[in-house]
């Protein structure tokens, strides 16, 4: 099976999954207690006004009809108006998704850049002080949730040592034209190096807070995988051939150990989309996770479904990319899928 066909197959199954998710979340959102019309209009609204809004939102229709109307509008690219922000849901998603994606991508990069080398270092110096130090660090980062790190990082690196900004995506004085919503790209597209540096400066603390747990997890996983790989006869063979320690570690121990770490990082990365909300709140980051929590609390039906669909789609895409990367790293997977 060619890569293109495999990709098509995965996209097709992902589409089916998305339809399933849309049905599920559509029903679940309507089971959450609270009348969205009453919540949106407030306690002083008259019964007639509430009823009028319920009609406008089709809330009095049977669930199947409501779902049909939703899918019809979705096919037109319309997810309705958010009762939370009072704007089209599509506008909200288009504005908030890039902010979260940008943050999560940097966090994912940090997981790879810091997590894998730390794990490799830990395995390489197994039982010695670098190993102990890294294991304590990993344990700490995995055991405390991201928002604890976020508050801690703000206190240390923004309050006591004012090295980093606390809130926002870019310095207030900079006005960057909106192009993609990704601040790093938009600043470069506008030729504003100062804006790029400012945007990066604003991203470092929240991304690091978000990444810490993943860094610890990747490090622990890489370490344990590399240790088992080191016990493989092929490593003994390489040592017998007189290869350098660095070459053995890099080529024969690290690469096979990457596969499970990469899979976990991929899943972690996708999960960050949903889990980023506390970090986004602490850093006042205008992202999708924060929006998602806000719309759930307000029982904003259109926005709940829209947000979950976007997060699910991103999750599925991340999984496809990870599977692809894993098959590139491990030829056995590729060959078995090709029936060889």
């Amino acid at each position: 099976m060619t890569i293109f066909r495999r990709l098509l197959l995965r996209l097709g199954t992902s589409l089916i999954v998305l339809v399933g998710v849309s049905m599920l979340i559509f029903c679940i959102a309507r089971v959450i207690p609270g009348d969205p019309a009453r919540i949106a209009l407030g306690p002083r609204a008259t019964t007639e006004q509430v009823e009028q809004m319920r009609e406008a939102l089709h809330l009095n229709e049977p669930l199947v009809v409501q779902y049909g109307l939703f899918m019809r509008d979705l096919a037109r690219g319309d997810l309705g108006i958010s009762l939370y922000s009072k704007r089209p849901v599509m506008t909200d998603l288009a504005e908030y998704l890039p902010a979260t994606l940008e943050l999560v991508l940097l966090a994912g990069l940090m997981m790879v850049v810091f997590g894998l080398p730390l794990g490799a270092l830990s395995a390489r110096y197994r039982g010695r002080w670098p190993d102990h130090l890294i294991r304590v660090f990993s344990l700490l980062t995995v055991s405390a949730p991201a928002f604890v790190w976020a508050v801690g990082l703000v206190l240390v690196f923004a309050y006591f040592l004012p090295l980093f900004p606390i809130t926002g995506r870019i310095a207030d004085t900079l006005n960057i034209p909106h192009l993609t919503g990704f601040m790093l790209i938009d600043t470069l597209a506008a030729g504003r190096i100062d804006g790029f540096i400012s945007a990066l400066h604003h991203m470092i603390l929240p991304a690091f807070a978000l990444a810490l747990s993943g860094i610890g997890q990747a490090s622990r996983l890489t370490r344990s995988n590399m240790i088992s790989t080191y016990e493989h006869p092929s490593i003994e063979m390489a040592q017998a051939y007189g290869f350098s320690e660095a070459r053995i570690a890099q080529r024969y121990a690290f690469r096979p150990s990457l596969i499970p770490s990469l899979t976990i990082i991929g899943l972690d990365f996708a999960a960050l989309l949903g889990n980023a909300f506390l970090v986004e709140i602490i850093f006042a980051w205008p992202g999708l996770s924060r929006y998602g929590v806000g719309v759930i609390l307000q029982k904003d039906l259109n926005a709940i479904v829209g947000t979950v669909l976007i997060i699910s789609a991103t999750f599925l895409i991340a999984n496809i990319i990870v599977d692809f990367l894993v098959s590139v790293i491990n030829p056995r997977i590729r060959l078995s899928e090709n029936g060889k």
Binding site: D35, A40, R44, I193, P286
Partner: protein, 526 residues
């Protein structure tokens, strides 16, 4: 070049670039925040953040009276009342931010748009107004369907929009709803520079405003949403935030005060009510309700709301009506705990407390309220009640309170008057015609009170209204549909160098919640 030198050069370059991107403007900027998302369309907004935005972006015919009760002229210079007909003469020197002159036609259009959209504060006018007619460039007549004494006060909730600008941005008969949620079309002292409803609204001062701003008023305002207490503390510590929201935990206010911020409070006609479900046993028996009210520890509650030695977020109530509203009587004694009377009333109650556990609910999003619930649990256990405390998310609570038979026994909640008229508080809370919502969640039915509240709507003589609402207050104090825990004083931490004049000086304070945050009345150091 050595490694150390290279590192030093690289570090200096990065630091230089970072400093170059730091704000270096001499512009006077005010940074404040609120918890909720901000709505800038005045036809949709209802809550605190929406009010703050509305009063800075738009103007109303009348405004709450500074330093007193009632209303004062604003866009309307004067008015005459002839039965159910109100004729307003408007200022002729007011222009919208667009440059268009503000006329009576804009007032009529604003009303039409608000009622057609059926959102926000339109419910305050529903069934009240028959027609609005511009009888001249600067004369507008409201004809009511029946006499409605609170009408004048209710007009503080009708910000006037620029008809020409709104119409120019209408799409498919949407009353420019989408456009107005991203832009402003008002005559207020500020206009929108940018707006993200869940993050921040940026406003800039409009130079031609018809009321002089205070000295060192902010030229730009960054009104932020949803900042965490830890974030606010850090931002204010760095001098990057000027006025906090009113929703921080007491410990954070105390910490900010220790760091040099000043604390001010706003008495916005808001009561903290423990709403008692009068439709469920044992609280359908007035004696049981009285027992709970007598046993309530008002003094401890006051201590719980104390931020530090100088600032409290509460003051005692003398009844259902907060100070500043018609019917408030300062000569009445404040509520105090009396366990002897509580036990006496409980003896008259038809229910045995041991057989009727009480479920007390507080809103999960306001964790500080748990302290009040725990205090109730401790005290009422001495009366023999088992008290179950539940932390309930807001959305769930709004659903629970729609069914009196299964709604919680006690809900702790703050309720504000929508206008400087007692009707806007008591009618929504206690009139038997009201739908079951969290405001009316004591589900009170009392024909005598209904009659008084109905009379209050048609009686225009101030003395007669005072007497009517005083009588209503007495009925409520006697029949206890709620425990009147305290009048809420909303606290704000203000950074050193910023003067919040309207709250610092009682003579300048507007009595309605949110109306004091007129940005042009706040001084900021450069």
């Amino acid at each position: 070049m050595t490694l150390t030198t290279r590192t030093t050069v690289l570090g200096s370059t990065v630091l230089g670039l970072l400093l170059a991107t730091a704000p270096a403007s001499a512009e006077r900027i005010l940074r404040a925040d609120e918890v909720a998302v901000g709505e800038i369309d005045p036809a949709k907004g209802t809550d605190y953040a929406d009010t703050v935005l509305a009063i800075n972006l738009y103007d109303t015919l009348v405004y709450p009276k500074q330093g007193g009760a009632g209303v004062q002229p604003h866009l309307a210079t004067d008015w005459t009342i002839d039965g159910a007909s109100y004729t307003f003469n408007l200022r002729d020197d007011v222009k919208f931010n667009s440059g268009n002159a503000l006329t009576a036609a804009d007032v009529a259009y604003t009303f039409e748009r608000m009622m057609a959209m059926g959102q926000g504060n339109s419910s305050l006018f529903a069934g009240v107004v028959d027609s609005v007619e511009a009888t001249g460039d600067h004369t507008v007549v409201f004809t009511l369907s029946k006499p409605f004494a609170p009408f004048l006060a209710t007009l503080i909730r009708m910000p006037i929009v620029d008809m020409a600008t709104v119409k120019a941005n209408e799409k498919d008969g949407d009353w420019a709803s989408t456009w107005m949620s991203q832009n402003s079309a008002g005559s207020g002292p500020y206009m929108i520079t940018s707006h993200d409803p869940q993050t921040e609204t940026v406003l800039s001062y409009e130079a031609d405003y018809f009321i002089e701003p205070v000295e060192n008023f902010p030229e730009t305002v960054r009104f932020r949403y949803g900042l965490e207490p830890a974030t606010v503390r850090a931002l204010m510590g760095r001098g990057e935030h000027d006025i906090s929201s009113q929703w921080l935990p007491p410990e954070v206010y105390a910490g900010l005060a220790q760091d040099g911020a000043s604390l001010v409070t706003e008495a916005g006609l808001t009561g903290e009510y423990f709403k008692l479900n009068t439709q469920r046993a044992p609280l359908d028996d007035v004696h049981c309700r009285r027992a709970l009210a007598y046993a309530f520890d008002y003094a401890t509650m006051a201590q719980l709301t104390q931020i530090n030695d100088n600032t409290s977020t509460s003051k005692p109530m003398t009844g259902a009506i907060p100070q500043g509203l018609t019917g408030y009587d300062a000569s009445l004694p404040v509520f105090q705990q009396d366990m002897a009377l509580a036990k006496e009333e409980l003896g008259k109650c038809q229910y045995d407390p041991a057989d009727h556990p009480l479920d007390v609910v507080f809103i999960a999003e306001t964790p500080a309220r748990e302290r009040g619930a725990l205090m109730m649990q401790a005290i009422y256990s001495t009366l023999g009640f088992k008290v179950d405390i539940t932390r309930t998310p807001w959305a769930l609570l709004t659903e629970q309170v729609t069914a009196p038979a299964t709604a919680p026994h006690v809900v702790e909640i703050a309720i504000s008057a929508a206008s400087p008229d007692t009707d806007s508080l008591l009618y929504a809370m206690y009139h038997s015609s009201q739908p079951p919502t969290w405001i009316s969640s004591s589900y009170y039915k009392n024909a005598d009170l209904d009659a008084l509240l109905d009379k209050g709507r048609v009686e225009s003589d101030p003395d007669a209204r005072q007497a009517l609402y005083a009588d209503a207050n007495a009925i409520l104090a006697d029949t206890v549909p709620d425990i009147y825990a305290y009048e809420l004083l909303s606290p704000f931490a203000v950074r050193d160098g910023v003067t919040y004049h309207n709250l610092a000086d009682p003579a300048r304070t507007y009595p309605v919640s949110g109306f004091n945050m007129r940005f042009a009345d706040i001084s900021v150091s450069e």
